[in-house]
């Protein structure tokens, strides 16, 4: 069968994606150096503390204690690059039309569970997929929103007097710090799932984030060809 090279990820997106990785890593690392000085968050249910951010062994293992000043130096240096990278990405995605491959629509919520069922091998049929499937659209759009949220909550903590309207909007200084912290936790969870999914998706998928291209069968899967479903005359759309 003939093959086609499909351009999946533009050069700009690939650079911004990979540059973001060390930047976000440094923001999280320096953020934890700062957080150590007032480590008050945890997961409590009915007054019982299930988990404390973070256990003592975690701080000691990574030599985190007493590095607040260093944390602030790093955080307020890398923040510029993190924010600029994100803003350029937003502009690029909007202007280039890449948002068409990225944003979910309301129906995505309905289709996303099918992706999970397919991934778990419960349903064999592949969910509809452009560059991304509906679960990916939701996940990748969310993580961009989380990035914006981190910048906004960060600004509210950084300049709570000059930007007091923003700080108040987020529920006040204490809440803004809480939100900023939990966005970090969500980033870490996203990272874990993302790396797992990339590992499961295989080499060609990973390679496409480096080269921009993937090899597909000529007349690819989303061409309007007769599928098994339509051939048998089944009406499967809800």
């Amino acid at each position: 069968m003939q093959k086609q090279l499909e351009k999946k990820h533009p050069l700009a997106v690939r650079w911004m994606h990979w540059i973001n990785f060390p930047l976000l890593t440094m923001m999280i690392w320096s953020g934890i150096l700062i957080y150590w000085a007032n480590p008050v968050y945890g997961v409590r249910i009915l007054g019982y503390e299930l988990f404390k951010f973070f256990p003592q062994w975690f701080y000691e293992y990574l030599s985190i204690p007493f590095r607040l000043a260093e944390g602030l130096q790093l955080h307020f240096f890398f923040m510029w690059f993190f924010a600029v990278n994100g803003i350029v990405y937003l502009i690029y995605t909007f202007v280039s039309g890449e948002w068409r491959a990225l944003l979910p629509i309301p129906a995505s919520l309905k289709r996303a569970p099918l992706v999970a069922l397919h991934d778990a091998h419960i349903v064999k049929s592949k969910p509809p997929q452009g560059k991304y499937n509906d679960a990916q659209r939701i996940a990748y759009t969310s993580v961009i929103a989380m990035g914006a949220g981190s910048v906004i909550t960060g600004l509210a903590i950084y300049k709570p007097a000059q930007l007091s309207w923003l700080t108040s909007l987020l529920g006040g200084y204490e809440w803004a710090r809480w939100e900023h912290f939990w966005l970090m936790v969500l980033f870490v969870l996203f990272f874990a799932v993302h790396v797992f999914q990339v590992a499961m998706a295989g080499w060609a998928n990973f390679r496409s984030m480096i080269t921009g291209y993937d090899i597909v069968d000529a007349a690819g899967p989303t061409e309007p060809t007769a599928t098994a479903a339509t051939q048998t005359g089944e009406e499967v759309t809800a």
Binding site: L68, K110, P128, K131, Q162, T222, A229, V236
Partner: protein
């Protein structure tokens, strides 16, 4: 609710289809309403080529991509690793200075931090930091030295009663420690801007020196302020905290209280106020500690 029901129906239909036909659909359901079609997602496909040619092309692209990426990653990692401590310290100092100039560009004394109702006051109040408070001093013994204030002919030596005679301002504001915690405190004192106006009535803010240095009487603790921040209406020379005279550990008899900067800048027990055009020294921004000189909110 309806959405949930739709979802169940959809999943059940897929299962039923697979059960009955024993087939799976490639890209199911191939309906025109899938998200890619709705949003008019483009595909960018090359001309059809033989599998071998596709692999060759892909191999060349991979080699280039991984080489460029690998080199970029190594340059990044090693330039950070090999950068000396001195260079890094200078880089961070310059970054703080840059951040300060950006902050000052947008800064306005007209923008105020939130104020709170009395029931929000944090009780008991929190104590932190005793640098410069070792000496025992009574309010009667204490004097405030004011140096370099333009429009006042000589240096001033003031008593606490001199300060209390000036217009009184109260505020219930959030005190923010650079460590990340905050408490809500009820302050009473004289606005720093009112203090300047009282002792230098003919001078406009523009003619004031650019900085202020404040020291404890023993000069063991000291902070530098930019004039714009110290003129903020929520910067007080405070003599009362939570409806009582300042206690020893909070800087009796007079301290700085402000929403414009972190707690490290709100010096307790002010002994000397010195106006200057040279950027003053500052306890926590000394290289050994490495905090931001500006530390402004």
């Amino acid at each position: 609710m309806n959405e949930d029901k739709d979802k169940e129906v959809l999943i059940e239909k897929v299962r039923e289809f697979e059960r009955r036909t024993g087939k799976t659909a490639d890209s199911w359901p191939d309906d025109p309403n899938n998200t890619a079609s709705v949003l008019k997602e483009h595909r960018y496909l090359s001309e059809p080529v033989s599998p071998a040619e596709a692999e060759r092309d892909m191999f060349a692209r991979s080699r280039r991509g991984f080489l460029v990426g690998g080199v970029a990653a190594l340059v990044g990692i090693f330039s950070w690793k090999w950068m000396g401590d001195e260079t890094k310290a200078a880089l961070f100092r310059r970054t703080f200075a840059f951040n300060e100039s950006v902050s000052k560009f947008f800064y306005s004394t007209r923008r105020l931090a939130a104020e709170f109702p009395p029931e929000r006051i944090t009780r008991p109040e929190r104590f932190n930091g005793a640098e410069g408070l070792a000496e025992e001093i009574t309010a009667a013994d204490w004097r405030l030295q004011v140096k370099g204030l333009p429009g006042s002919t000589a240096d001033l030596t003031l008593t606490i009663d001199d300060v209390k005679r000036l217009p009184r301002t109260e505020m219930i504001t959030e005190f923010k420690c650079i460590e990340g915690w905050s408490t809500i405190v009820h302050w009473a004192g004289v606005r720093f801007s009112d203090f300047i106006a009282a002792y230098s009535p003919t001078i406009t803010p523009r003619d004031l020196p650019k900085y202020v240095l404040l020291l404890t009487p023993d000069e063991k603790y000291f902070v530098g302020w930019d004039i714009e921040s110290i003129l903020h209406p929520q910067t007080l020379l405070a003599y009362e905290m939570n409806e009582a005279p300042l206690r020893h550990e909070h800087g009796a008899p007079l301290r700085l209280a402000s929403t414009a900067k972190y707690g490290i800048k709100q010096i307790k027990r002010v002994g000397t106020i010195e106006f200057t055009n040279e950027r003053p020294r500052d306890f926590w921004s000394q290289p050994v500690f490495g905090y931001d000189w500006y530390s402004g909110h």
